[in-house]
Amino acid sequence: MILFDPFFWEVFISGLLAGVMYALVALGFVLIFKASGIFNFAQGVLALFAALTLVGFQTGQVPFAHLLEAVFGLHVTHWGDGMPTVLALLLSLFVMIGLAWLIVKIVLRPLVNQEGIILFMATIGLAFVLEGVGDLMWGANVKRLDVGLPEGPSDFLLDHTGMFIEKLEISAAVVAMILVASLMLFSQYTKMGRALRAVADDHQAALSVGISLETIWWVVWSISGLVALVAGVMWGAKSGVQFSLSLIALKALPVLMLGGFTSIPGAIIGGLMIGVGEKMFEFYIGPMIGGATENWFAYMLALLFLLFRPQGLFGEKIIERV
């Protein structure tokens, strides 16, 4: 029986946990898409940028050290021993909020009322800029990120069930759940949350009752900056902070397709489905066809799924008029 096979459960649970991580990135997309109709391709790079900034603050790196050396011949690398993790996290959050403000002012404000595809392209441009700035500020080498999360396999599960599950993944899942719950509470029960939902519903109507679009966008981009920071911390702690971190955005896209671009529960359930599906496929079918199927399985799954349900699992029904 497959259900009594500990390997099955190990694969299943590690799939679920990976799915939570995907959902975390997808969440950042959904928040921005709902509030501004922008498909934010830069979400992955935002996560990379946030993680780089965090490591930079933590270890006390001097930003643009390499550039300063090349241009002015000034050789500085560190300004001290760094700072405690909590302070670094807070500072990085401030950086992300400032970045959100800059993005809204410089990129989005002049592009109001453009077609969605133009805004999408603009975020691709943004991704390039952020990637370059991040590398230029903090250097492109792989960095270790340690925020004090537990590591290694969970002994409890290993002893009792024989399953090999990373502690880090469990804590990531817990953090993600807390984040999702608090975002839901925020959007349901606060004034700002209500304004966000109003904007998501109808821009013009929201404007006409006196909600400032620009402020809302700033808030939304700051929140997805926060989500990016959390995602960056989790993925960075798992596999080091490096360029490939920004590719997790590509992992989140099929999740979005599956769950629908406008649904927060969709992002979570889509993430879990993709996480489990891709681990299962890789484990049971992967060896037959050469392995490394994780790169495309999620996309194929989402593609086939969309053929039958074009708006995704929880997306709004697409109604078209001429």
């Binding site: 370059g132 230029l136 979005l256 996309y299 001429v322």
Partner: protein, 358 residues
Amino acid sequence: MIYREAGDFKTTYKADQETFPIRLDKVGFWLSVLIVVFVIPLFLNDYWEKAVFLPFFIYAIAAIGLNILTGYCGQVSLGTGGFMAVGAYSSYKLMTSFPNLDMFVVIICSGIVTAFVGILFGIPSLRIKGFYLAVATLASQFFLVWLFNKWEWTYNYSATGQITAPERDFLGVVVTGAYSAPWATYLFCFGFLFIFGWMARNLVRGHIGRSWMAIRDMDIAAEIIGVNPLKAKLSAFAISSFYIGVAGALYFSVWLGAAEPTEAFSIDKSFDVLFMIIIGGLGSMTGSIIGAAFIVLLPVVFKTVLVGLLGWPTDIAEFTQIILIGSLIIFFLIKEPHGIAALWRTLKQKLRLWPFPY
């Protein structure tokens, strides 16, 4: 004074449909073609061939292909890298299986193979639209690159997984392999660009191109007035993939000479080509070519200036280059969402009226 018609005196549809209605444009175009064909090859060296002209021509073909799909038919695709890989690998298989086949035939056949793959991956476009489709085309990108990594038959079971172009000729002139002369590869690629640019220009102003544009502007309305969306969308996918396949085949066999799927056909290629058509102008032939020139030449210029003249370390120059390209994309989108081609049109309009404001 020179750049001006005296008025709009067109009396035939033929005159109205002309690509270059102003004589100065027409003369200028043919003059530059003559210079490109007869003058530049005389002074061409290896560096200019490999770093500037070949990538420019090849990317221009790919950009025209993607522009047919995205700019004219409105289907955003992020699978260009994957389709280029199909073109490259089919040209490799053809070159190694039929050593006597002329290079021209090889390239065209690779394009046809890619067209079929394109139709296959275009089928979802009948149900999925917009961003969903853009993301769905990523499936082709990742799946195809994975396929060429894992399916040994495609790279003839070579131990490294790399494909290397053997020496083949076009009408007796060697155009691939290490011993090809710069002028030969240069003219070979330019020939493709010229023929396919001309074909595309005529396709998009004909019946099929109009049905693409109808689908792009509003698919439901187009369907109601009798445009068959199945035919229009799939033909756009087929023709666009054909172009991209041809570009991919040239990219591997003539320009690079050797390729390995993960690096050479990564998703960056898809984005590069997409940037070309956005910066150049969606739905414009001139735009595709200007965009290709822009994206290909920009890194060369930056590298020459930052590394060569200012003596910056290469990594900093590279980051600066990424930042600059990103900012330029944003800048162009803000200033002129319709690309350089639209700027060029405005400029032409101004020139026609000069020295009067209107």
